[in-house]
Amino acid sequence: MTPVMTPLGSALEHYVLLATVLFALGGAGFLLRRNILVQLMSIELMLNATNLLLVAYNRSHSSSLHGQMFAFFIIAVAAAEVAVGLAIVLSFYRLKSTISSDAADSLRH
């Protein structure tokens, strides 16, 4: 197995690795933080990593543009998700006077 030196950023694997790291960071932030706003931002990070992966694979199979179209729809859905999510955060703050997700335990009792 001879290592072939490809320039950085000209191979699919580089993008896959970067998207994996970004997704793992987003997942860690979602699980690590108790601040709902930061958790929403972590979800955005994960969606962005997925978008990057879709666009990179589409560049690798460049006979069609379906991957980019899918990334476009993901961006639209993420915008809708943020609008509703932030509205829920504001409503939650009015109910509990905090935005720590540990306070969202009304269904537990």
Binding site: G9, S10, V21, R34, F72, V84
Partner: protein
């Protein structure tokens, strides 16, 4: 080191640093700025991947709308937006790092497996003519992707209406007041004399009572 390699390296470093700032910053405003940095880096990578339209959309939608919405909400919440410090609970201290390291390990193992079979990285072939241009993208979006596109329109409309509905309904205030007035109407007359002037319900009856007393 070619220019493309330098561009990829710079963008990926920007992305990872921005992501780290996002998840580790105690102040959510700094987190939003980290998210903005990551989004800009990913837009740069989209440019490198010949997705010019998506790079523009990424900047317009994410940097122009999503991050601004986050900053608005953070400023609306004020000092309470900084709640939920890192590592408040023991179970929240190790499990996330463990799970993300596990995820990275599994992904690295899978990539090593595939790479071991190939022994070479899959370099990008030169793209076809018109790849990633707005013309090609629009043709695909309005032919094959027409139904999802229209559904996305409906989704965005419903999301906006839903967001307004969720924010406008103050929890625990209006329903209680409506219930009180309903019971009052049902059982006739104000419970306390001082409510007579306020509610305007059956003032004649109250006056009759007072006159008989």
């Amino acid at each position: 080191m070619t220019l493309g390699a330098f561009f990829f390296g710079a963008c990926s470093v920007i992305c990872v640093v921005g992501a780290l700032v996002t998840i580790l910053a105690q102040n959510p405003i700094r987190g939003a700025m980290g998210l903005l940095t990551t989004i800009a880096g990913i837009a740069g990578l989209f440019l490198a991947l010949e997705a010019q339209f998506l790079a523009a959309i990424q900047l317009i939608v994410y940097a122009g709308a999503v991050v601004v919405l986050f900053v608005f909400v953070i400023m609306l919440l004020g000092p309470t937006a900084g709640a939920g410090r890192i590592g408040e609970e023991a179970r929240a201290r190790y499990a996330p790092w463990f799970s993300s390291v596990l995820f990275l390990g599994v992904m690295g193992f899978a990539m090593a497996l595939v790479g071991g079979a190939n022994t070479t990285l899959t370099s990008f072939a030169p793209s076809e003519l018109g790849y990633g241009s707005i013309e090609a993208f629009g043709k695909l979006l309005y032919s094959e992707g027409l139904v999802p596109f229209e559904l996305t329109t409906a989704l965005l409309t419903v999301a906006v209406v839903g967001a307004i509905a969720v924010v406008r309904s103050a929890p625990g205030k209006k329903p209680v007041r409506r219930l009180k007035s309903a019971t009052r109407r049902m059982f006739g007359g104000p419970v306390e004399p001082r409510d007579a002037a306020r509610s305007g319900l059956l003032p004649a009856q109250v006056n009759d009572k007072e006159s008989t007393l």
